[in-house]
């Protein structure tokens, strides 16, 4: 027994030991794959031929390109994707807010985007504006689009397009995502939870302290039928204190937020015309006034801020330190060393495609150092991760430290890559079915789980699937096959309808082209455009693809043959992985 414990300890120490300084066992990927990996990771498109050539000519060019790619608007989308995988905002499987009342005329899809993206947009804004990352918990502004402004009655000019800076207009303190209504509409407080679930979300997301994931051992003797006794016990019983001593004071900051304002409750309230007696048993639960659920929604109430005291719960504090409200909470989180380390750990997990809990401590530490030394510059953190030898490794001379291997293209990346290459966006209209008042109009099949394939293609649904599946699955294959067919058909039809000079694909050929050189040139260009694979038109891979085209031509027509070729390329492992 002792020997096995010692062995386990030794193995654990071996696995966790940081590598010796200067010891880098990694053999880099070829220049083209290095460029594509970083480009796809940052902006969801492959590197251009000129960019690949620059990396081939000068290995240091990749670092400069990475900085440049982070200036692309597409990097902002990546930042949002990354944070959605940590915050679980894009949950379309629970009833969304419907386009009724002042929101009539908008689509369900648009309303969902406006609400679920609100805190993600603030984070995107912080990162892409080169603000210190801790601004996400200290910002005195929030971002809103026109629909969100209608929903919450925000002071925002309807004439302005897109997401613009404004403030919450209900008197709440402003502390970045800590005071986001949409964060707390997504992360509810149920029953006698007293905002603990929300506090645990904040602790887990911002500090990587998953208090709620700890074992719960409750000794007998507590009268569980008495909520006051339970509330007292969590501050005195040994089995409870280890979690509640930190959780409850953190949760105490959040009592100003309504426990829950769900889409269903909002829809119910509107159906009832927002007028009913306050003692109506059918009134939506969890808020002090039924009309809070009507537009503009009131998700904050100054009068509830100190209601923790009604339950004899402890006052607001931060891991033992006293705090002065939400703004001060944001400052204390920003000063906490765990904040930077957690952000680094989560970013490494996202780019390396491992769970944040599984990121090696020495990796978390060294990227935290970069992050802190940069003044919490998130771009500097991401830059360090994607230009690091681990991220760019093809092989390793140390079996204990293998390379990452092929990385899977996420559904969100795939959607943007496909759009860039083929112009195709997989959007459907699910209203063909009986949907009553629950109709979604245009729905992106790679960005949705109510109708679409995001989680079946390996993504999260933010509802029950909280970690991506980075490995191929049969259902992901089915999704990608269908996507390839749809995109190929669209690309051929739209490209051949244009004059050659205006096309982005198939510029070298017409449907009637039979010249071998032109066909090879077109196929080599498709390999470059679709896969970032820059081949000589006389190379064997181009010959193999030409043979596929010829085989299809013998069975069908030129357009179909091109469709098959493009669909095949979109199924290639270079399209699946990067």
């Amino acid at each position: 027994m002792i020997r096995s414990v010692v062995s386990a300890f030794a193995v654990a120490m071996l696995g966790c030991a940081p590598p010796p300084p200067g010891d880098d066992p990694y053999v880099p990927l070829p220049p083209d794959e290095r460029a594509h990996r970083v480009s796809l990771a940052l902006r969801a498109v492959r590197a251009t031929q000129a960019e690949v050539q620059a990396v081939s000519a000068d290995p240091n060019a990749l670092a400069a390109l990475a900085w440049m790619w982070m200036e692309d608007a597409a990097f902002g989308e990546t930042v949002k994707d990354l944070h959605n995988e940590q915050m679980f905002m894009r949950n379309d499987l629970e009833p969304p807010i419907q386009p009724v009342g002042p929101l009539a005329g908008h689509t369900m899809e648009d309303l969902f985007a406006s609400t679920s993206e609100e805190p993600l947009e603030l984070i995107r804004h912080v990162v892409t504006s080169d603000l210190p990352y801790d601004t996400i918990v200290t910002s005195d502004v929030m971002l809103a689009d026109a629909r969100l402004a209608l929903l919450y009655g925000l002071d925002r000019s309807p004439a302005l397009g897109g997401w613009v800076e404004t403030t919450w207009s209900d008197g709440r303190p402003q502390a970045g995502i800590l005071t986001s209504s949409e964060v707390y509409r997504r992360h509810l407080s149920n029953g006698s939870n007293f905002h603990r679930g929300r506090a645990n979300f904040l602790s887990t997301f911002l500090l990587c302290e998953d208090i709620g994931g700890r074992d719960v051992v409750v000794d007998g003797g507590v009268d569980l039928s008495d909520e006051f006794e339970v509330a007292a016990a969590v501050g005195s019983e040994a089995g409870c204190v280890s979690c509640h001593a930190t959780l409850d004071p953190l949760a105490a900051h959040l009592w100003g937020f309504k426990p829950q304002i769900t889409g269903l409750a909002i829809n119910d309230a509107l159906r009832k015309g927002c007028h009913w007696p306050h003692d109506d048993p059918d009134a939506p639960p969890g808020a002090s006034l039924p009309e809070d659920f009507c537009f503009p929604i009131r998700s904050w109430d100054d009068n509830m801020v100190d209601d923790w005291a009604l339950w004899n719960l402890p006052p607001p504090a931060y891991f033992g330190a006293t705090t002065d409200g939400l703004v001060d909470l944001g400052r204390q989180i920003a000063r906490d060393p765990r904040f930077a380390q957690c952000a680094a750990r989560r970013a490494v997990g996202f780019f390396h495609q491992v769970g944040w809990r599984d990121v090696a401590q020495h990796d978390a530490d060294r990227f935290t150092d970069v992050f802190v030394q940069s003044g919490l510059d998130y771009k500097a953190l991401v830059h360090a991760i994607v230009t690091d030898s681990v991220f760019l490794a093809a092989a390793s001379s140390d079996a204990r430290r293998p390379p990452l291997g092929p990385l899977s293209v996420r559904p969100e990346q795939l959607r943007r890559t496909l759009q860039a290459v083929t112009g195709f966006d997989w959007v459907v209209d699910p209203n063909d079915m009986p949907c009553g008042t629950d109709c979604w109009n245009e729905t992106a099949m790679l960005g949705n789980d109510r109708f679409g394939y995001r989680s079946l293609a390996g993504g999260i649904d933010s509802y029950r699937v909280f970690q991506p599946t980075w490995s191929p699955t049969p259902t992901r294959v089915l999704v990608l096959d269908r996507l390839a067919d749809e995109a190929a058909g669209y690309a051929v039809a739209t490209q051949f309808a244009l004059p050659a000079a205006q096309r982005t694909l198939l510029q070298q050929v017409e449907p009637t082209t039979t010249d071998d050189d032109a066909l090879r040139s077109a196929i080599a260009a498709l390999h470059a455009d679709v896969l970032g694979e820059f081949l000589d038109p006389r190379s064997p891979p181009v010959g193999a693809t030409l043979a596929l085209w010829q085989q299809m031509l013998a069975q069908s027509d030129p357009e179909t043959a091109w469709e098959v070729v493009i669909a095949a390329l979109l199924r290639d492992p270079r399209a699946e992985f990067y």
Binding site: N190, G191, S192, G212, D215, V216, D223, S225, E227, P285, G355, R357, D358, A394, A395, P402, G405, P406, F424, V427, V428, P430, D432, M433, C435, E442, D449, R450, F451, L456, D461, R464, F466, Q467, S471, P472, T473, P474, T475, V477, V479, R482, E486, A488, G489, Y490, A493, T494, P541, A544, T545, L548, Q551, M552, Q555, S556, T560, A567, A568, R574
Partner: protein, 420 residues
């Protein structure tokens, strides 16, 4: 040896591409049905009449309705709360199947947060990234089938065996991939393929081209996470799903969460036709009754109606003796109600086991009068003051043993709970 996809393949090379006849005779199967959100065991299989502080179903009786009365009735030795007004399906199920049913009370989950509890009960692990019980059983017993396991609930944890799995999608989306007639139309003005499907005749040529491309890619890329193996396997399995499972999608209405009856019929169909060896199902409904715990009555009625349909379906197909059905919830609910007549999270739960050759008519494990898990003899499952908690990992290891999967591979060092 941990049950990675690569290890499974090394142990049984290319089993997933082989004919199934050699396996069918001895195949073990597993169906896991989850009441996701947290059930209140005191309304049904863990009755606590007279226990101070435990509010059972009797508090919901309508005094003005003489038909709305709760009673504890014993079926084949299993005491259960019944109410023929609110939960008629409970009686129906127990009258028919109690002699084959094992009730397991007092499973210690050790958390009161949904996701950690779900992870613990379905995988036996606290940590993320593990394969759940259906995935493990499916990989073991469905290696020759189109897929090992099929997730009809959207709750599964695929882990390293992801390439062995299939999924329905939360609202049956996979139907649109298997059956072209079930696709959503393109949105107005949206971009989509105006030419329709590629010719079927193209498939062999494309597959041959892709096989060469994948082989070339493999030559130049280290693959420490075995993603390329997983891709090869997934491609074969995806083709087989199209060939063998497409017609099951007739039970799916795209865009809508499948009704319990339909999901059950899909599950039985998947097993009966040897498309999968394990299925994960969900007992529909909002079980997380922080408000109005009274809603659990209807949820139980729905659950037992679905369970009856499942067990009858398996029995009718001659599969029940080989198929273990596990019904559980990731957590229980507090003994007493909160200020809005709901019940909050509770780190103890129960399970129902039926089929798979397991004897029935018994209750194993127990909870105290404060609804906390009692110690049991893990070798028998019976209460034992000198025993141990039946923790989520013990229970998961025990379920794996019951379906002939070595729990030592995935839960090394964990003592399996054994039902006598």
């Amino acid at each position: 040896m941990s049950p990675t996809r690569r290890n499974v393949l090394l142990a049984a090379p290319l089993l997933w591409a082989l004919p199934r006849a050699a396996f069918a005779a001895s195949r073990r199967r597993l169906v896991v049905m989850v009441a996701d959100g947290g059930w209140d065991m005191t309304l049904c299989m863990d009755p606590k009449p007279g226990a101070a502080g435990v509010e059972g179903p009797e508090v919901d009786e309508d005094v003005d309705d003489p038909e709305d009365r709760e009673a504890i009735q014993t079926f084949a030795g299993i005491p259960v709360w019944v109410n023929d007004t609110k939960r008629p399906a409970v009686r129906t199920f127990f009258e028919a199947w109690a002699p084959s049913l094992t009730v397991v009370n007092g499973i210690w989950v050790g958390s009161i947060a949904h996701d950690p509890c779900r992870r613990r009960m379905l995988t036996g692990h606290e940590s993320t990234g593990r394969s759940d019980l259906t995935v493990l059983a499916g990989a073991r017993h469905g290696a020759d089938l189109p897929v090992g396991s099929f997730d009809c609930a959207g709750l599964g944890s695929l882990g390293p065996l992801a390439a062995t799995t299939g999924g329905l999608g939360r609202t049956g989306q996979v139907a649109g991939l298997l059956d072209p007639s079930l696709r959503f139309p393109a949105a107005l003005g949206a971009t989509t393929d105006p030419r329709g499907d590629l010719p079927t005749a193209a498939a062999p040529a494309v597959e041959a081209w892709l096989a060469n491309r994948r082989a070339a890619y493999r030559l130049t890329h280290a693959d420490p996470r075995a993603h390329l193996d997983a891709l090869d396997e997934s491609v074969v399995r995806a083709r087989r799903l199209i060939d063998e499972a497409a017609d099951l999608t007739s039970l799916v209405v795209p865009g809508h969460e499948p009704r319990m009856d339909d999901a059950v019929d899909i599950a039985v169909g998947l097993l009966e036709r040897d498309i999968a060896a394990a299925v994960l199902l969900q007992a529909n409904g909002a079980w997380d009754t922080h408000v109005a715990n009274v809603n659990q009555h209807g949820l139980y009625d729905n659950l037992f109606a679905g369970l009856t349909r499942l067990v009858e379906g398996l029995s009718g197909a001659g599969l029940l003796d080989d198929t273990l059905v596990l019904v559980t919830s990731e957590m229980g609910r507090t003994p007493a109600r909160n200020e809005v007549s709901g019940k909050d999270h509770w780190g103890h739960t129960s399970a129902l086991l039926i089929g798979g050759g397991l004897p029935g008519g018994r209750v194993l494990g127990a909870t105290s009068d404060t609804l906390e898990s009692e110690l049991v003899d893990l070798a028998t499952g019976l209460p034992d003051a000198q025993g141990a908690l039946n923790k989520y990992d013990n229970f998961a290891a025990g379920v794996l043993e019951l379906v002939d999967v070595d729990p030592g591979d995935t839960l090394p060092g964990v003592v399996p709970w054994r039902p006598g």
